[in-house]
């Protein structure tokens, strides 16, 4: 079956063709490549190489699967404030299936997924946002098919899988205690395909497009860390690159959200900032087209790109503070005192028993 959509797609098989057809200038494209290259800490000359490689790259077919998610990841990608930058994602790839963005619905939508899988077997990318429920297949279905079945079927002939967002990467909110749906991460279910985790709630748009750009330009997935995240974007903590870090080093902390320290822009560590344990590029790449990021807006990092961050205690408790030293100390003192008293009683009873059991020796005993 050939339709106008397919015709158009084949006519712009490479990224360069597609950009030209859409009237995107080379300047805008180079700007995009330079920003991606700097974000990934590639050498200065890499932007040009990236641009050349990208322009020649064939646009890969991408199937986007949405499971137990909130569409925040798609929002992050689609509602980026700088259309000349993030919208390029749709020119880099051929997005053949995506609930929120595709025009087709019902059977036509599912047919698009089937067609993309058949035409590009072994070559297409699968992007997943949302976790998969194992508790009951009926908790989340698409066209009446359980998430786990859609995932297995679509992943079978995929070149690679991008688990976008903390839900797909680590289970996220659906997997937070008590995890009523038995939600699991994509990497728990798919073991035989390369998986890149791009966590965040949502992830930074540039990071999502950056991973795809890297895959297109260099023909391989970027280097990953122990949690399956691209090192280029998740190699450093927010804390290490935070512009408020000098205040931390000087011991200058905001104690409340409206005290003098907060007005002076001091470190938010004591207000629960999870920057020291959150690996992400927010402090450098920033949000809303590089305008700001949470800490810059006066709120501590909640560590949304870390596994199980929902269950890691209050968002507003400082990381290093002993949970409750006074209460704990009182409890320990009470337990210690109780133990001491108990042992004392035991010792005294032993002494009393020894005294009672003591037999005196008389002169008569010795002369026996």
């Amino acid at each position: 079956m050939t339709n106008a959509y397919d015709m158009g797609r084949r006519q712009s098989a490479t990224v360069g063709d597609s950009l030209e057809r859409q009237g995107i200038t080379r300047r805008a494209f180079l700007q995009y490549c330079a920003s991606i290259a700097s974000l990934m800490a590639l050498p200065a000359g890499a932007a040009e190489q990236l641009a050349t490689a990208l322009a020649k790259a064939r646009r890969p077919s991408v199937i986007w699967l949405s499971f137990q998610e909130c569409t925040g990841c798609t929002e992050s990608l689609a509602r980026a404030h700088n259309p000349s930058l993030e919208s390029l994602i749709f020119d880099l790839i051929s997005l053949d299936y995506h609930h929120t963005l595709q025009a087709a619905s019902g059977e036509a939508a599912e047919a698009a997924r089937d067609a993309a899988m058949k035409e590009n077997a072994g070559k297409y990318l699968v992007v997943v946002d949302g976790s998969v429920p194992l508790g009951n297949p009926g908790y989340s279905t698409i066209a009446g098919i359980a998430n786990i079945d859609v995932l297995r079927e679509t992943a079978r002939d995929a070149a690679a899988i991008l688990a976008v967002g903390t839900c797909a990467a680590y289970g996220g909110l659906p997997a937070a205690q008590p995890n009523p749906t038995g939600a699991v991460a994509i990497s728990t279910l798919i073991k035989d395909k390369p998986i890149v985790n791009i966590p965040g709630c949502p992830p930074i748009p540039n990071v999502m497009t950056g991973v795809i750009a890297h895959y297109l330009a260099f023909g391989a997935l970027p280097e990953l860390d122990g949690l399956g995240r691209p090192r280029a974007f998740y190699g450093e903590t927010i804390h290490d690159r935070c512009y408020r870090r000098p205040f931390y080093d000087q011991g200058k902390f905001a104690e409340t959200f409206d005290d003098e320290g907060a007005r002076q822009g001091w470190c938010l560590f004591k207000l629960g900032c999870k920057g020291p344990v959150a690996y992400n590029a927010c402090a450098t790449a920033k949000w809303n087209g590089g305008v700001s990021f949470p800490i810059q807006s006066g709120h501590g990092c909640i560590g949304c790109s870390e596994p199980n961050f929902w269950d890691a205690g209050s968002l507003y408790s400082a990381l290093s503070m002993p949970a409750s030293p006074v209460t704990l100390g009182a409890a320990a003192a009470a337990a210690g005192a109780a133990a001491g008293v108990a042992v004392t009683f035991f010792n005294r009873r032993k002494k009393a028993a020894a005294k009672a059991g003591h037999e005196t020796t008389t002169l008569d005993d010795l002369e026996k």
Binding site: T237, H239, G251, P276, V277, L319, S320, M321, P322, A323, S324, P325, V326, L328, G329, A331, A332, A333, A335, G336, A337, A339, G340, V341, V343, T344, N347, R348
Partner: protein
Amino acid sequence: MDQLQFLTWVRGPGLNLALLVFVLGVLWRLIEIYGLGRKTDLSAPRHVPGASGWATIARRSLPAPGLLKSSPVTYIGGYIFHVGLAVVVFLFAPHVALVDALVGVTWPALPSQVIDFATVVTMVAMVAVLVDRHVKWAKRFLSTFGDWFAWLLTFLPLLTGWLAVQHLLLPYTLMLALHILSVELLLVCLPFTKLFHAFTSFGSRWFNGTMNGHKGVPV
């Protein structure tokens, strides 16, 4: 677990746990020891000058006649490292700040350079008493595992703390985490090793002095 997560753990749950064991252990052992009790001495007390609990506490803080000459390393090294340890632990500004953050009590601190000097001197004194313990056959004969272990428990916080402040050997984050961990190890072990003398030595001296003072013997 990376360096920062390690540091976060030792500063948070690790410190909680160590303090918990420390407080529990200290109270347990103090009550147990003093709860043993002593028989009442029914004899009439003899009053001899210098024969009392307080006098014994003071007297035993000084070397007995002749012993300073025969074991100079034990005495001089011992004085230096005990005083040095107290200075480093209680008068280093970050330590004062920690206590302030935890319980809201604060006092003046010494300049970092003075603390740095005191740390080095304390470590040298500790190494000297260790070597002396190893070299003198009688001391070595009397030493058990507990003695060597207690030395290590005391030395590690000094060494790691000094290395962290000087930014030597390992990255600061990791060294600081190791320093705090070594202190936690010390806190956990203190109530159950001979390091418990920090709490009992003056009490037992007072007990000895009082009992012997009752008999008219200045010890």
